[in-house]
């Protein structure tokens, strides 16, 4: 019941309460964005119709590098 999936914000309504989210697989759905501070173009994690967090794109892109670093760090340690 409670998966969360990432999607990109396509547009936000005037009240800044709902936004259209593009899930990248051709589906676009309305979600409530009142729990996050977002702008068009942000990636968010959506759970049960609500965006629960903005994805940190920089962190995301660096995740694998960071993992590699952590592995080799242990080797030296």
């Amino acid at each position: 019941m409670c998966l969360a999936i990432p999607g990109k914000i396509v547009s936000i309504d005037e009240k800044k309460e709902h936004a259209i989210i593009d899930y990248g697989d051709g589906t676009k759905r309305n979600a409530n964005v009142s729990l996050v501070d977002v702008k068009v173009g942000d990636y968010v994690l959506v759970h049960a119709g609500f965006a629960i967090q903005v994805l940190d794109e920089k962190e995301a892109n660096e995740t694998l590098d960071l993992f590699r670093e952590m592995l080799s760090y242990e080797e030296e340690a």
Binding site: L35, L45, H47, Q53, F67
Partner: protein, 360 residues
Amino acid sequence: MFSLRDKKLANEIVSKIKTLNVNLKFMHVCGTHQDTLVKHGLDVLFKECGIDIGQGPGCPVCVTTPKEIEEMLLFAKKGKIVTTFGDMIQVPGEKDSLQSIKTEGWDVRTVYGIEDAINIAEENKDKDVVFMAVGFETTTPMTASVLLKNPPSNFSILGCHRVIPPALKAILDMGELKLDGIIEPGHVSTIIGSKPYEFISTEYGIPQVIAGFEPIDLLMGVWMLVQQVEHGKARVENEYARVVKEEGNIKAQQVINEVFEPMDVKWRGFPVILRSGLKLRDKFEDYDARKRYEDDFEEIANKEFSEPKGCRCGEVLRGIISSKKCPLFGKKCTPDNPVGPCMVSIEGSCNIEYRYAKKQ
């Protein structure tokens, strides 16, 4: 979007863990983690590395109590429109499930989220609409923020929200199993951040890692736990930093606190766990189905309901047996004919085990 399926890195992590020759027992508390573990064969892989990982009480549907199911059934039979998530509808009660009474003609509706339930209430002003609000910290903010926006007066909730950290404490205090580390759920943590877990490391000396849901996230999460064990450390680390902030989602936390306050509740398979549930603050009591329809409840108020006969969901949820150890697993109990909630919910460990075993 973000590709996190790096095979080479995955193999590297596994071979490194292998060389360490460990014998460890970890627990996670999330259906989505279990799905990733079983779907990608990581559970078997980790076992070969000397690490046994089990799912604890990590499925909001599975931990709802038999009584909560009966409460919902009662509402439906009193002529209200009852709404909840798909998985919940199939969970067997003592005699019926919401699904089975729906075929008898009672008004039971599956919704994708609480906002759908509100729409149903708007469209059916002449009827009472009750939403069964289940879910951990990930889902609670949705219920809370909807209640803050003056929902229609024919709408109320049967509150079944629960919080994770007290349940972890309960497991440790019960002492049935010795844990070497805990993988904390990424989406619960998205809301609550890392602080609420700290006492588990400081008071119980148990290493913890907040992890995401890709195979590589779990591999890395396990690696980080193993490293803590190897170096004699116990703290909360965050593998899922691309989503989980240390402080969590503060807006969501505020919304929860405005609407709910902690209460002691039972979890399936557990005794009452202190401050592990949430009840509506007085200000919102008009939306509290238990208060509003107190008279309806009278007939079951003091009744205790038992778990389905032979079902071992309680032990599965406490992490002391795996699904396959239940004698009913795959025989009398299958997803088409579930005996207990762990076989119903797609986040339940029996259901996950059955689904992927069949596919292989």
